[in-house]
Structure formats: structure tokens, C-alpha cells
Amino acid sequence: MNYEAVIGLEVHVQALTASKMFCACANRFGAEPNTLVCPVCLGYPGALPVMNAEAVKKTIEIGLMCGCAIALRSKFDRKSYFYPDMPKNYQISQYDLPLCGLGHLAVGGKGFSGDPLPDKVIGITRIHLEEDVGKLNHFGRSSGVDYNRAGVPLMEVVSEPDMRSADEAYAYLTVLKQICEYAGVSSCDMEKGQMRCDVNVSVRPVGETKLGTKIEIKNLNSFRSVHRSLLYEIERQTEAVRAGEKLRQETRRWDDALGQTFVMRVKEQAHDYRYFPEPDLMPVVLDEAQVAAWRAALPEAPEARRARFVADCQVTPYDAHVLTLEKPLADYFEAAAKAAGHPKLTANWIITELLRELGEKNLTIDTCPIPPAAFGKLIALVAGGAITGKSAKDVFAEMFASGKAPEVIVQEKGLQQVNDSGAILAFVDQAIAASPKAVEEYRAGKTATIQFLVGQVMKLSRGKSNPQTVLALLKEKLG
């Protein structure tokens, strides 16, 4: 019998806001422990929460990007459990009236394994807003809590159990991250804990419609560990079910070093969170016009941008996919293409040269030393015939190293393409005189030899001759 996996994801994304969810403390990563705190986010006696409207807006924006139904009336609830990272021992969250209801995300491209994925739509159950908790640090025999993170606005995106493989889960996460970055609602830096993921996975015989026993995996702090833990867990569960074992509903912890999951708690130990409406906050009431205004101001969705690049810029669908994976890259491409006036050539240069160079130097598009306008200028020089493609690669390397403008480098290095037939003719004559053997072969009918002669001319002119002119003159001379 064949088995299939059923996967749903709960993704926590920190909203990019100036201040925390319920107080005026800065929402910032990396400060000294317990320096971004106040009576409210420390849960001091008598302190009260005040809702951050910007965080609500960001949540609605991500909801709109995912095609979610937006709740015009929503509320916050208290979720109770004891843990030292939670100052009040309850978390202000949303229980039965989240800000965003049913929506969906289209996934495709490639999975983590590199295998191409068919296009598929993954349902989104809900997106709600809550406050983040602090961070526990363990030092030998004692522990400390840093509450800088406590109270940071956290959006929880809950998917439907629509994914069937680790690759699909990976693709979903990629698209979700992409959308959050596009909308500017989160920086999604997993290393900084700005995006965190819990996985629900079960297996069932192919064709079965009932869900198998659900296992939750926690502690996944990279897309890679989501993928690895799913591969591990799907195999573990499938083997267990095959062997006739009855799985129990439980929460497991992923150990990245060992590459295994371990039981954290079984269903009977599950918390009773005792949700009830947060009496310190008023219900969230939005009006239709406000939501419509936010919708109108949304950035272009990656899907739409992809389609536009294919239609307007004559790039291939695959190139469009690569260019839109991250919003900064797509923005870079658009700015550079505009400066160049040649989008297709710009796309080729970005994908083959720029991304390779960035990768080698361990840089990202945000830290790229070449501004998009300068990059576009380089493409314009190539397209306009001012420099040869060969020279352009040297100019590019120099731009990357020194940050100088392309026309300055061309000037300094004297790389202007030579288009003047008289000047080129002198090089052609020199080349013919220096390569009698090649000339003989060519005249004997081995026409491919002419490429060798072109090369000689380019060498003599230090790569600056227009290759088309060289070819034409050689043919003329050799008759």
C-alpha cells in the first residue's frame, strides 16, 4: 500500500513595526537584554495594553495579499499558560475572531530538493495577531529571560492541511516569506526569530480521505529544518503505520544536530489554554472603506510581477521566477532595466553575472556594491555598441570591486569599442601577415579558421574592436 503525507503549517511572522504590540517600547532585534522593556511588556502589576494599530494594518495587508476574508469585527483573547518567557502568564492572542479568515497561496517553482513542483494552491485557514514572548537563555545551572522580544507583534498564519510533501511545504514557506517581504510587513529573518514555523503532519493510505493521527513538530528555525524534519517524520510515521503500529497524537521536538524528532508531550498533557475575551482591550472594528484603501495601496503581488516581466520585458518565465523570488532583486531589476533601456539584456546580465558574483562574494542584493542605475548604464554601453561584451565583463568586475561608474572605467582603461574600419583594417592586416598558416587553411576551404583570425585581431586591439566589423573586413581581405 502507498502512503501520502498530509501537512499543515503554522507560521509565526513578526510584524515590522516601530513599537511593540501593546506598548511604546521599540520593536528592534539585537539590543542588550531587557533594555527594550516597560511595565506593560514586563507584565507589571497595574499595567495595561494598548493596541498598536500599525500591527493590525500589517496583518490585514498580509491577509489581503493572501486573498483572505477580512473581519471587520475582530477581538483579542487571553491564552493562559505558565512559562517564564511570558510576563503575564497569559498571551494576548486571538481565538475565535481572527483579523483574517480563509485565503490561499499559489506555490510552484522548485522544492528544497531542487525538483520542479507543479503549480498548486494551498489554502490558508486564518491569520491572527498576537504578542511574542521573551527569550530564555540558559547559563549552566541558571537561566535568564530577555524580555526585549516580549510583546513584539506576531502574526500567525495557519494553513489548511493541503501540502503532500516536504518540498511543497518548503515552497509554501518560500512564497509566504516572499509575500511578507513584498508587502513590507516583516523582515522574515529566521536567524533573528522573525519567522518561525510549527508543522502538523500525518500519513494515510493514498485514496483515504480521513486524516491520520496528527503529529506536531516544534523548534524549527530554518526552512531547511522544516524540510528535513518532514522527510524524517513522514518516513517514521509511514514505517510505523506499515508495521501496524497505532500512532498517538503528540508534539515532537526536532533536533537539528541529530536529525531526529523526539516526543515533547502527548495529547493528555496538552494545555487547556482557557481562552476568554481580553477585557483590557476593545474589539477591533474596521470599516470597509479603510480596508479598501489598504487594498488599493498594496504592492504588486509576486505572481503579477512575474507575469508582467514575461509580457513587458520579454524575459523567459523561468528568468521571471528567479527575478521575483525576492522583492529587492525584482526592484533592482526594474530600476536597472529602466536605466539600460534593454530589459531582456539586463535580465541576462543579472542572472548570469550579478547573481553569480554576489553568491561568490557572499553578498545579497541589498548589499550589492553596484547601484541599479550604474548597472543599467553598463548594459546600455554594451547594447549601444560603445564597448564589447568582453570589455563589459572587465568593467563589471571593476565596478564590483571599486564602485566606480562604468563610463569612468571605460575611459580610464581605454576600453571604447573601435568601430572605425581604418583602424581595424590595420589590425586585420597585421593578423593576416602573422598567421600565414591559418590564411592558407581558410583559403583551402576550412572556413571555421576565420574565428581564429578574429581572435587574433581582437587580441591585437585589446578586445576593443567591433567583432562584426572585424569579421566583415577579414572576409573581404581573404576574398
Binding site: 514586563l42 502589576p45 497595574g46 499595567a47 517564564p84 503575564k88 497569559y90 482557557r274 476568554f276 476593545m282
Partner: protein, 488 residues
């Protein structure tokens, strides 16, 4: 000149303004009274004499320089132990907050400090405001200054006892189900519970967030109105605080008049078993006195009153169970340092830190919110709460102000309300006001033949404080009890 400690808030302000006394003299006189009277009453938990006198000296210096913060600059106020005053302990009369110092001012406190009022000690209360006698204080009980074999009421028992005994001209308290009005009634002072949201709760240690409200206790209606003027108004730090500007309550007292006023007497309130004859009589007498002054008496009905106690104890305990979860010894307060692990730290800290009544309510609240019970308890209680509010709305179509007892009896003897259920039932006249979010005031209206004060309650609609206080002023005049202090 009379002893300064006997001055009301308004009299003290006038004396300061006229230069008849200094803030230093006033505070020193009150500190002397505390030294004499408090050993018998035990209203104060802490009172930093040096800090009080330093604040008084600063106030005097401002006044000499012509830079007084307000007319009230230099007037001291006793503060219930659940209100944050920056730099002072705020222990809610609980062992679990032993060692905790508040790092910030409650908004209401901050506003009064901006007017120059001086925080004058921390006064006792039932632990976390849970109780009706101040016997549930985790530190020690407070006694009724009129008869120390009796309780002062609660939970703001320390506030009421301090004001009644002349140890402070006025005090701040909090009222979740009657915690200002009932002790005010038992101690013979004025106690006001404002409309929910009129005074910011920021800095009031929460018992039941949807019911709690800060309010004044004073010896006159005017003093209560002055303090409400100083505290009220929207606070951006409290999302449940009402929008808009409010105030002018003290000034409006000059126009106090009950002619044409419709006084509603809820029929159900007079059918309560256990309503003491002297209380019934006092309310009846006052209704008649008001009629004599031109008010019209109407009978109203609050048919859902019978659900109020059950509703209250579900909602209040549910909210409290979450509100009190933060007291775990991790960040502040007392911690069981001998516990072996995290769970034991939580268990032992809370087992040792909380008193029985607090534990009882946390357990009750945890139970009613538990999976499978939520709909049957919490959700139904919320529905009942809506019905209770609608009862009042209907009643206020028939009348302007409701007249009622504060409690079924005058102050009970110590230990008399030790059965929790009996204690809960004594809240019958006060808790509906909190459930409906409206305003109520307790005004002294009689003295029993054994010398115990009897309070009377006026209940107004939401934001009906102006008329409520005006009516209370007429009651105060009609009762004509004069200035009385217990012999201590």
C-alpha cells in the same frame, strides 16, 4: 482653630490657601493622629513619615514662591495598597508582593500628584481586593474605628477606616463589586464608584478588569467630587477609558436640587431576606426626606437582580484567574527560593504567597474558563450581565437616580462573615452597579442606637455623576449628621 487633622479636604485646601496653616503642619497633625489612632484601627500598612513631610515642605516652598500646583497643593491622601505610586510599595496586602516597589504612577495618582496632592501612606485592603471585611488582608486585619470588635468592610477597608478615624482627609480606593461603597457605609464616610471608564485603571492592580474602577473615599460629598474632578478623563494608556473631557463635578454641587427629581426604589432590593430593620428604616426615612424636598418617589424593578451574585462571581473570578497569573515570583515580589524546579517554584511561590480567599477565587475562575465549562458558565454569565445592564436602562426610563441600601446590615462583627458564601451574599446591593458599568455612591445617612454608621446608596446611569453627586449632597444635608470622629 480646630486640630488640623479634623479638616475636610476642602477645608484643608482653604486653610492652606489662606495661609492659616502649612502643608507641613497639616501632615504633622495627621501623622500625630495616625500615631494615636492607628494602633487600634490598623488601617496603614506603611507610612513613610519622612517622605510625607518632605513632600509637604516642597509644597509649602511652592506656595511661598507663588507656584502652587493647584488649590489642593499640599493636601495628603491615603492610598489603597493596590494603586501604583512610583517608588512606593504596592503590595495589594499580599505576601506574594512582598518587596515589590512600583516603578510608575497610576494615571489617576499621577493626575492628583500634578495637582499637588501628597500620597499619604499605603492603606490596608482585602488581599488583591478580594473580600468584604479587610479580614482577608494578607498582612493583618483593619478594624472598624467606631467599634473595633467590628469590621470596617472591604475591600477598601483601610481607606474607609483611615478617613473615618481622621487619619487622612480623604483616600483613594477601588471598587470591583462594592469595595468602596460598602466600607464607606460601614465606616460612615462618603464613597464613590464612578462609571466604568471614567477614571483610568492604568496603575490599578487588576482584580477583575471589566469591573474595577478607582474612586474616592472622603468625609463629604464635595471632597469626593473634588477628587473625581482631579482623576477623571480619557487616558491613552487605558483602552477601556471613555473618550472625551469630563469634570466640573464639584462646581456643579452649588446647583444641587432634588425638586422634580424622580427617585427610584427597586422593589427587589427591599425583598432581600436579611435586610436589617435599621437599614430599611434609614433608607425609608431618607426617601421621605427627599420627597419633602421636592423629589418624586417611584417604584422601579430590577428583575434580574437575583442573578447578579452568581454572574459577578463567575466573571470576576474568571478575569482574576488570569490577572493574578503574573504573580509567580519570577520577575518581582516574593519567590520560593528553595524550590527545586520551575513547576515547584510556581507552586510553592503561589501556595505561600496567596491567602485562602485569593486561592479560592483563582480556582473558581480557572474552573469556569476550563475547556467544556466555558459555555455553561462564562458565556452565560456574560449574557446575564447584558440582561442586568438592560434592567437598569429600563429603570432609568422611569427614574433619574436609584435609592438603595449599601449593605443589608451595618458593620458586622469580626469573623461573622467568615463563611465565603455569606460574605458574597452581603454584596447584593453593590455588585449590580459594577456589572452594569454605571455609577454609585455611598453616603452616611443615619447612626444606629449603638452608634454604628448606616450608609445609603445612590445609583446613577452611566456618566450620571453630576446628578448623582448633587443628589448625594442633598442626602448629606438632609441626614445632618454633623462632624463626628470616633474616640481613639
Amino acid at each position: 482653630m480646630t486640630e488640623l487633622w479634623k479638616l475636610t479636604l476642602a477645608e484643608a485646601a482653604a486653610a492652606l490657601e489662606a495661609g492659616r496653616c502649612s502643608a507641613h503642619d497639616l501632615c504633622a497633625s495627621l501623622l500625630g493622629r495616625v500615631r494615636a489612632a492607628d494602633p487600634q484601627v490598623q488601617a496603614f500598612l506603611t507610612l513613610d513619615e519622612t517622605a510625607v513631610l518632605a513632600a509637604a515642605d516642597a509644597s509649602d516652598a511652592r506656595r511661598r514662591a507663588g507656584r502652587s500646583l493647584s488649590r489642593f497643593d499640599g493636601v495628603p491622601l491615603a492610598i489603597k495598597d493596590n494603586l501604583s505610586v512610583a517608588g512606593q510599595p504596592c503590595g495589594c496586602a499580599s505576601k506574594i508582593l512582598n518587596g515589590y516597589t512600583a516603578p510608575y504612577d497610576a494615571t489617576a495618582m499621577g493626575r492628583l500628584r500634578e495637582d499637588g496632592f501628597i500620597p499619604f501612606g499605603r492603606v490596608n485592603m482585602d488581599e488583591f481586593a478580594m473580600g468584604s471585611t479587610t479580614e482577608n488582608s494578607g498582612i493583618r486585619p483593619t478594624l472598624n474605628p467606631w467599634d473595633t470588635s467590628r469590621v470596617p468592610g472591604g475591600s477598601s477597608g483601610g481607606s474607609a477606616a483611615a478617613v473615618a478615624a481622621g487619619m487622612a482627609p480623604a483616600a483613594l480606593g477601588s471598587d470591583t463589586g462594592g469595595s468602596i461603597r460598602q466600607p464607606a457605609g460601614f465606616c460612615g464616610v462618603v464613597g464613590l464608584k464612578p462609571t466604568y471608564g471614567l477614571v483610568s485603571r492604568y496603575g490599578l492592580v487588576a482584580f477583575a478588569s471589566s469591573l474595577d474602577q478607582i474612586g474616592p473615599l472622603a468625609r463629604t460629598v464635595e471632597d469626593a467630587a473634588i477628587l473625581l474632578d482631579g482623576m477623571c478623563g480619557h487616558d491613552p494608556m487605558d483602552s477601556t477609558s471613555l473618550p472625551g473631557r469630563h469634570g466640573g463635578y464639584a462646581a456643579a454641587l452649588a446647583e444641587a436640587d432634588v425638586r422634580g427629581l424622580r427617585i427610584g426604589l427597586p422593589k427587589e432590593y427591599f425583598e432581600v431576606a436579611g435586610l436589617a430593620p435599621e437599614v430599611r428604616q434609614a433608607v425609608e426615612n431618607m426617601a421621605a426626606a427627599l420627597e419633602q424636598r421636592g423629589a418624586r418617589r417611584v417604584e422601579v424593578t430590577l428583575p434580574r437582580s437575583k442573578y447578579a451574585i452568581a454572574t459577578y462571581y463567575i466573571i470576576a473570578t474568571a478575569e482574576a484567574s488570569a490577572n493574578l497569573a503574573r504573580f509567580d515570583g519570577i520577575r518581582y515580589g516574593a519567590r520560593a527560593h528553595d524550590a527545586d524546579d520551575l513547576l515547584a517554584t510556581y507552586r510553592q511561590t503561589r501556595a505561600r504567597g496567596f491567602g485562602d480567599e485569593v486561592k479560592r477565587r483563582i480556582i473558581l475562575g480557572t474552573y469556569v474558563l476550563s475547556s467544556g465549562y466555558y459555555d455553561a458558565y462564562y458565556l452565560r454569565a456574560q449574557k446575564a450581565r447584558t440582561l442586568i445592564r438592560q434592567d437598569f436602562e429600563a429603570a432609568y426610563r422611569e427614574c433619574d437616580v436609584i435609592l438603595a441600601p449599601v449593605a443589608p446590615t451595618p458593620a458586622p462583627r469580626r469573623g461573622e462573615l467568615s463563611d465565603p458564601l455569606q460574605m458574597y451574599l452581603a454584596d447584593i446591593y453593590t455588585i449590580s452597579v459594577n456589572l452594569a458599568g454605571i455609577c454609585g455612591i455611598s453616603v452616611p445617612c443615619a447612626v444606629t442606637n449603638t452608634g454604628l454608621p448606616v450608609g445609603l446608596q445612590l445609583i446613577g446611569p452611566a456618566l450620571g455623576e453630576t446628578r448623582l453627586l448633587q443628589t448625594a449632597r442633598i442626602v448629606e444635608q438632609a441626614a445632618a449628621l454633623g462632624v463626628r470622629f470616633p474616640n481613639l
